[in-house]
Amino acid sequence: MRFTEATASQLATLIAQGEVTRSEVLESFLERIVAVEESVEAFLTVTADHGRRLARLADKAAEGGATPTAGVPFALKDNIATQDIPTTCGSRILEGYRPPYSATVMQRLEAAGHILLGKTNCDEFAMGSSTENSGFHPTANPWDLRCVPGGSSGGSAVAVAAYEVPFALGSDTGGSIRQPASFCGVVGLKPTYGLVSRYGLVAFASSLDQIGPITRDVTDAALVLGAIAGPDPLDSTSARVKPPDYGQALVPDVDGLVAGIPRELFGEGVEPEVRQRVEEAAAVLAELGVGVEECSLPNAVFALDMYYVIAPAEASSNLARYDGMRFGYRAGAAAGGDDVGNGARASIGGGPPPGDLLSLYLSTRSQGFGPEVKRRIMLGAYVLSAGYYDAYYLKAQKARTLLRQDFEQAFGRYDFLISPTSPTVAFPIGERADDPLAMYMADLCTIPASLAGLPAISVPCGFSQGLPVGLQLMGPAFSEELLLRVAFAHEQRTDHHTKRPPLLGVKRH
C-alpha cells in the first residue's frame, strides 16, 4: 500500500493498530517529496532529519508499550514559528531566522504525536493571493504547473494536493487558507477568530489573522481542527471557549437546514463555469434537504475596500519590528559586526553597513522587504497618517461594523451561507503579478467572513477547464461543527475530493 494515498485519520488508525510504523509512513512521504518537489516547489524547508528522529523515538516508545501517539507527518506554513527550525514568512528579511520558541499550534500537534516534515512557501508575510510574492521562489499548481496555486498559503495547499503531506496548516487573513485550497482542489478551513491560538503566528493583520487546517477531506479537517483549537493563555485574543469534539460533527444529516446565497458574492466577476459548479453544489445540498434561497449582504460589495484599509494599516504597524536590530536581516551586517550572531546574513545587499541609524533602517527594510510588502506598509502608513485617519481607517472600521450587522441579520434567517471561494479558477503564473488590484480581486468572496471574524470552509465542488473550483460555506461565530457537517454531507454525495492532480505542464519561472 502507498501510504501517501491515505488521509491523516486513516494513517493515525493504521499507526495506532500497529499496521505500520511512523518511520515507514514518514519515509514514503519523503520519497514523494523527492519525486514531485522539483515540479511544484511547495516547501521552503524540509525537516527530514528532525522528522526521522521523532518518528524513530515514537516507534521505539510504542514498542516499549507507551501510549501510542498519532505519528502523522504534516507541514506548516512558514509564518508559523518553529523552535530552532527556519521560519522566514517567505521573506528575505527573515532568511535563516530560527525562532527561540514554537507556536502553540506546533506544540499542540507535536504533543498529539504528529511529526513536522517541513515549512511551506507563501507570499511574503502572507501578503498575496498567488504565492508569487515569496521572496524565494514561486510554487506551481499541481493541476497545471503553469498556474499559481493561490495564496498566500499556496505551499501548504500544494503540499497537501500533491500528496507530499497528509495535512498542513495555513493562515488566513483575507482568504489565504480558503483560496489556495480552492485553487488546488483540497479542503481549507478558516476557523472563527479566536478559536485557534495565534501565539507564534507571525503577525500580519492582528484583527483578522487565523490559523487553520488544509486537508484532503473533511474528516481530516475535523481531526486537525480538534488538535489545534482551544484557549491559550499566551494569546490574549484566544477566546475562552471549550471546543467540542469535531469528529461528532461528521454525520451526513443536513435535512431541514436553510442556506442563503448572498447575491453580492455571486455577481459580476464570477466566471460562468465557477457559478455553475457552485449552483450544482447547492443543488446537491438541496437534494439532501437543505432549503436554499438567494439573500443579501448589502455591504459586502465594500468588503474589499474595507480590507485594503484595515489589513495594510495593521500590517504597517506590525512590520515596524523588522528594523535589523534584534533579529532578521541587517543591511551590511556580514561586513560590519565584530561579533556577528546566528541570525540572517547579508545575502541581499552586501556592502559596508550604513553609518547612522536612519540609513540603517532605510537600507535594511528596503533591501529586506519585497514590493508587495512595501506597497502594503505604504498604504497602511498613509491611511493611519495625520489628516487621513478618520477618512480611511476609522471609516473602514465603521463600515466593518455594518458588514458584521449584515451577517448577523442573515444568520437570523439562515443557518449558513454559500458562495464560490474564489470568483475564478487558478490563473497563469505572472498574469496578475504587475496589477495589484486584479490580484486583490481573487479574495472578493473570502474577505467578508474574515472581516466579520466568522468561520468559513472551502471544499472541492468540481472543475472548470481542468482546474478545481471551490465551494465556500460560511457560518455564525463558533459554528465549525455545523460547517463540517454540511461539508461532510456534500463530500459524501460527490467524488470531487478523490480526483488526483496530474502534475502536468511546464513550470514557468
Partner: protein, 97 residues
C-alpha cells in the same frame, strides 16, 4: 486627480522607514492611487450612527490572565538571532553623539 502625490509618497516612505528609487516612486505613486481610488468608495457609506469595529471579539470572551511572573527567553536565546551583539547586548549604530 491624484489622491496621493509623489511628494506625499516620499514623505510616507520616510515615516515607514522605506527608501525608493525614482522609478519605484513613480510606480508606487501610480499603484497607490489606483488602490486608494478604489477604497474611497467607502466615503459613500453612511456610517454616522455606527461604532467602529476594532476587534470582533467581546471583552468577555477574552478576559485578561492573572498577572503572574512566567519564564521568558534567556539572554542567550534572545540574542541568538541578533545580527550583531557585544558583551551580551544587542549592538546597534551610535544613537547619541
Amino acid at each position: 486627480m491624484a489622491i496621493i502625490t509623489r511628494e506625499e509618497v516620499e514623505h510616507v516612505a520616510l515615516l515607514a522607514r522605506l527608501a525608493f528609487s525614482p522609478d519605484e516612486l513613480d510606480r508606487f505613486t501610480a499603484q497607490l492611487n489606483d488602490i486608494l481610488g478604489h477604497v474611497t468608495r467607502l466615503g459613500g457609506l453612511d456610517t454616522s450612527a455606527v461604532e467602529p469595529t476594532a476587534s470582533v471579539l467581546s471583552g468577555a470572551a477574552t478576559p485578561l490572565r492573572e498577572d503572574e511572573v512566567w519564564e521568558g527567553l534567556t539572554r542567550e536565546e534572545a540574542l541568538a538571532s541578533a545580527p550583531a551583539t557585544e558583551k551580551g547586548l544587542f549592538k546597534v549604530p551610535r544613537v547619541l553623539e
